[in-house]
């Protein structure tokens, strides 16, 4: 599978955030998007996830299937999308159902165990710490299997051990033929290419 973006430009509030941006990644490849604050890293990820309209350009996937790119992608933004009133397991079961696309995924318990959260599975999400919430949000990557991961600052609030776990899970995803586009300031141990966004 190949995900390609050609000559993308995105405008926000009449201002061009970036223009004429092209790249392509193949199955098993990753792309690390870097750049200073406000360079458009989050904007690029949101545009890839179909959450922002494109001013110009095209995002396509080959071979073309029935699914659109957003339906094949996990978008992990700054917000954790957890409902405080629901338990962690209920949150993950909901993620699995709403994001599921017939590719299956791990049961919530196993996904939580992978991120070391098995002991808080029955707690309401409101009681978790920031890092635990982040890990619960990351666990959604596992409960519903989608080939493209769009990760916006995935390591925010994670401690050193969790960052190692995260790196392992990302490596496993790539080894399984997935793709990762990650925006970050911190070095992720990904072997893939780097896309540096500068001034548009």
């Amino acid at each position: 599978m190949r995900l390609s973006a050609s000559r993308l430009s995105v405008e926000r509030g009449g201002r061009i955030v970036f223009a004429d941006l092209s790249f392509a990644i193949e199955s098993g490849e990753s792309l690390v998007v870097t750049g200073r604050n406000g360079a458009g890293k989050s904007t690029l990820l949101r545009a890839l996830a179909g959450l922002l309209p494109l001013a110009a350009g095209e995002i396509s996937c080959a071979p073309a299937g029935e699914e659109t790119v957003p339906e094949m992608a996990h978008y992990l933004g700054h917000a954790d999308a957890l409902k405080g009133a629901l338990t962690v397991t209920e949150n993950l079961d909901f993620f699995a159902a709403i994001l599921g696309s017939g590719r299956g995924g791990l049961p919530a318990q196993e996904a939580l165990a992978a991120f070391g959260l098995a002991h808080v599975a029955a707690l309401p999400a409101a009681y978790l710490s920031a890092g635990q919430k982040r890990r619960a949000a990351l666990a959604k990557l596992l409960v519903a299997s989608r080939p493209v991961w769009l990760l916006d600052e995935p390591s925010t609030a994670l401690d050193a051990d969790s960052q190692i776990v995260m790196a392992k899970i990302m490596a496993a995803h790539l080894a399984g033929g997935g793709m990762i586009v990650a925006a970050t300031h911190i070095r992720l141990d990904l072997a893939g290419r780097e896309l540096r966004l500068g001034r548009a």
Binding site: G50, L51, E71, A79, A81, K83, T89, L99, P107
Partner: protein, 235 residues
């Protein structure tokens, strides 16, 4: 116990809309507020009426259908601004937008859950509150039936406003200003149906059927409009 919860999660995994529906009901149930607060607000509005117009039972009975409908309308508006805003703030809306399920059906599912949490309790409470306004017994059923047929339309039309104001921090007032004029037809035919007593000049069926038609129109149009608004406003 563990097995049953597991089986439940599996069945929820089968359908995204079913999972969304149960999630909405669960959140509404756990946080509370929604259903009970709406009914209490409804009760307070109805209770205030005799203080405002005086203890004239004949007058109260005459204006009771209108008062119940206006109170129902305001109580319906109460929680609507949070319909999509809560999901927008915590990032869940991004999940809903990247789901394989069509956004229109997601909107419809959220509206259905919202109506069960806020509209249905009003319908159930209406006959009791009608008694407080000296509504004749033979009109209680027409008020209740008209609210049952009309409040879904209010929720659905309100969903358009909720989608338009999704990214505004204080969108509640703007929502009311946007939505209340659109609710006028529902209010007119709702009150007309509610005020119809057996043997009275206005038959019950005519305004009631138009009210049903308005609800069906809202059912067909509002999810599409709200979904389009969400796609544009959620940036």
């Amino acid at each position: 116990m563990k097995q049953t919860t597991h089986a439940k999660s599996k069945s929820a995994g089968a359908s995204p809309l079913h999972a969304l529906f149960t999630r909405e009901l669960r959140i509404g149930h756990r946080i509370g507020g929604g259903a009970s607060l709406g009914v209490v607000f409804f009760l307070i509005l109805v209770t205030l009426t005799p203080f405002a117009v005086g203890p004239d039972l004949a007058l109260l009975a005459r204006i009771a259908p209108a008062m119940l409908w206006i109170s129902g309308l305001l109580a319906t508006l109460l929680g609507l601004d949070r319909l999509f805003q809560a999901d927008h703030e915590d990032g869940s809306l991004d999940l809903l937008l990247t789901s394989a399920a069509p956004l229109e059906l997601i909107v419809l599912t959220k509206c259905a859950a919202h109506w069960i949490l806020t509209g249905l309790p009003l319908v159930i409470a209406a006959p009791f509150f009608g008694l407080m306004l000296a509504l004749p017994a033979n009109q209680l059923w027409s008020v209740t039936l008209s609210l049952l047929a009309g409040t879904p339309a209010l929720t659905l039309i309100g969903a358009i406003g909720a989608a338009l104001t999704v990214s505004l921090r204080r969108g509640g007032l703007l929502l009311a200003i946007l939505i209340l004029p659109l609710c006028v037809p529902v209010l007119i035919f709702g009150v007309a149906a509610a005020g119809a007593a057996p043997g009275a000049m206005i038959p019950f069926a005519t305004p009631f059927l138009i009210l049903c038609a308005l609800t069906l129109m809202a059912l067909a149009g509002a999810p599409i409009a709200a979904a389009a608004a969400l796609r544009h406003m959620s940036e």
